[in-house]
């Protein structure tokens, strides 16, 4: 297993490296880097100075290497818009995004695991059908539409929750519920499939034959095994959530990474955008690596061998 993990780690590093090239290309894609750095009304001399200070006249490879060096030291450059270090901005916002992602996941799991279990235990019944209907609807309803409807009901009509912002945990409920609802279907499908698979296993029959009550059979013996692939999905979804919350964060004016990136797109603030894309990709890579490790640890068969 150490060899397997070492391989996975190597792959992760390689992927992160390639993503960094893409992210670097993103900044160069929009062309006039010097002009963007110099800002408005820069004179020709200004531009020349900028080209020299930032080494924009060097070969791209050299520029990339020095940029990568900076990035590895945690220096993502300076925001065109805010004129402050990108790393400060990211450090400022990432907390909100992580809270949102974790809350969304918690909500998604709290819904999908019980429903997935029910759907599997009563597979083919109306509960199962209802669950798959809900899951289909969840995939069909645009997240931003759902978000607006939730705001209308919970914030305006019933005045139970704030409509936007990130000041307290209550502010996170609506955005987290929206994202959570949106990512519930894949979890529900996975739990259901895993449970159906687990329930058809011989060890479940053994557990029943031992006279264990149904809930113990289902919740202990079947669920434990059905949850193993869920762990993998959790890490993957966490990665996607951190990147995919752009829409939701902007609707709820939730001051997180996605919102920062969305604003950065509006300002053509490429250093920020570049940093967020790179960061999110690396987070995803790290999380998938982590999921492999956790899976290996969860499965006793892999743990020992």
């Amino acid at each position: 297993m150490p060899i397997y993990l070492a391989k996975r780690f190597g792959l992760a590093v390689l992927v992160a490296f390639c993503v960094s090239i893409l992210a670097f290309a993103l900044l160069r894609l929009q062309g006039n880097a010097a002009g963007a750095l110099a800002g408005e009304g820069a004179s020709a001399e200004d531009l020349a100075i900028i080209v020299e200070t930032y080494g924009l006249d060097r070969p791209l490879i050299v520029q990339y290497a020095s940029w990568l060096g900076d990035v590895l030291r945690g220096d993502f450059g300076t925001s065109y818009f805010f004129k402050s270090p990108v790393s400060d901005l990211i450090f400022d916002k990432i907390g909100n995004t992580v809270i949102l992602a974790i809350m969304s996941l918690t909500i998604a799991l709290a819904i999908s695991i019980p429903l997935g279990v029910l759907a599997a235990v009563f597979s083919g019944s109306w509960i199962d059908r209802l669950c798959s209907l809900v899951s289909l609807l969840g995939q069909a309803l645009p997240s931003f539409f759902l978000a607006l409807c939730l705001v209308m009901l919970f914030a305006i009509k019933w005045r139970m929750l704030p409509a936007s912002g990130a000041d307290s945990w209550r502010h996170f409920i609506l955005p987290a519920a929206t994202l959570g609802y949106y990512i519930t279907p894949p979890f529900m499908r996975l739990v259901r499939a895993g449970m159906i698979d687990a329930l058809s296993n011989d060890y479940v029959r053994t557990a029943r034959a031992k006279g264990l009550p149904a809930h113990r059979v289902i919740l202990k013996h079947a669920l434990r095994n059905a949850l193993v692939p869920v762990v993998g999905l959790v890490t993957v979804q966490l990665g996607l959530l951190i990147g995919g919350s752009v829409v939701i964060e902007s609707i709820f004016a939730l001051d997180g990474l996605g919102y920062l990136a969305y604003q950065a797109i509006g300002y053509r603030d490429f250093p920020v955008l570049q940093a967020v894309v790179l960061l999110l990709s690396v987070v995803y890579v790290v999380l998938t690596l982590l999921s492999d490790i956790v899976n290996a640890w969860l499965d006793p068969r892999l743990r020992v061998s």
Binding site: V15, Q139, A140, P142, G239, L273, V276, T288
Partner: protein, 303 residues
Amino acid sequence: MADLSNSADPTATAELAETPPGRMSWSRLSEHPSLLIGGGIVILMILIAIFAPLLAPHDPYAQDITNRAVPPVWFEAGSWEHVLGTDQLGRDYLSRLIYGARVSLLIGFAAVSIASVIGTTLGLLGGYFGGRVDMVVTFLTTIRLSLPIILVALAVVAVFGGSITIVVVVLGLLKWDRFAVVVRATSSQVSRMEYVQSAKAAGASNFYILTREVLPNLTPQLIVIATIEIASAILMEAALSFLGLGVQPPTPSWGLMISEAKSYMFFSFWLISIPGIALATLVFAINLAGDGLRDLVSPDGRG
């Protein structure tokens, strides 16, 4: 006693006895109501999109800013002149909705066409050739998966400007991963099959084998993934347009209509709910059809 092996599940054998496996037929189709309903709605929407000029009662672009936000006919202030009312610039909402179906479907189909070509090609190469080629394909797929798709799409649209073409190309270039993963897995199975091996032995070219022997066997899975991806592409277009970085006005796109209506939602909910429901219905129908197709392709339901 060799025939007394012990593993048979009486139900499974009975099912097999009842219906021959892997055969698609109308009688089997009728056993999948979700496919019938979903497919029916999708076909209806496609027809609406194709015949939009005949169906739309007004020019979807004709604005009349003295006659704005007229509610649909079922409200007191509504009229049959504008069945679904008019939008914030006085354009006929029904007509825009009808033309909007074109945009959604066009983007969905076009983007997924690009994605499926890329994904299928990569998947086929990886699955069939294995080894180094496969490593490269897997690597590319991993990189693609690690990119935050919405953000990258937004960034590219921001650089190149929003238009239907850009949205289609961006989504096409970003959504091939599922095709690659599934095609790779299946084609590596298929390429180990006897008839592929014998075709190889008979000296058939790789291209011939891939296109004539392997690809046809993947078609059912491809269709299933394509439906799911079309639904997801349509939703992403809507999200991009909602953020103002997708299709640009005055093109009627459902995502854009939702975006334009959002600041009216607390007072004229119908403005946002009409395109919202249309979008949800289309995506729901496609997913429903996709589920049905999946059941049809892999009857054990684990596909």
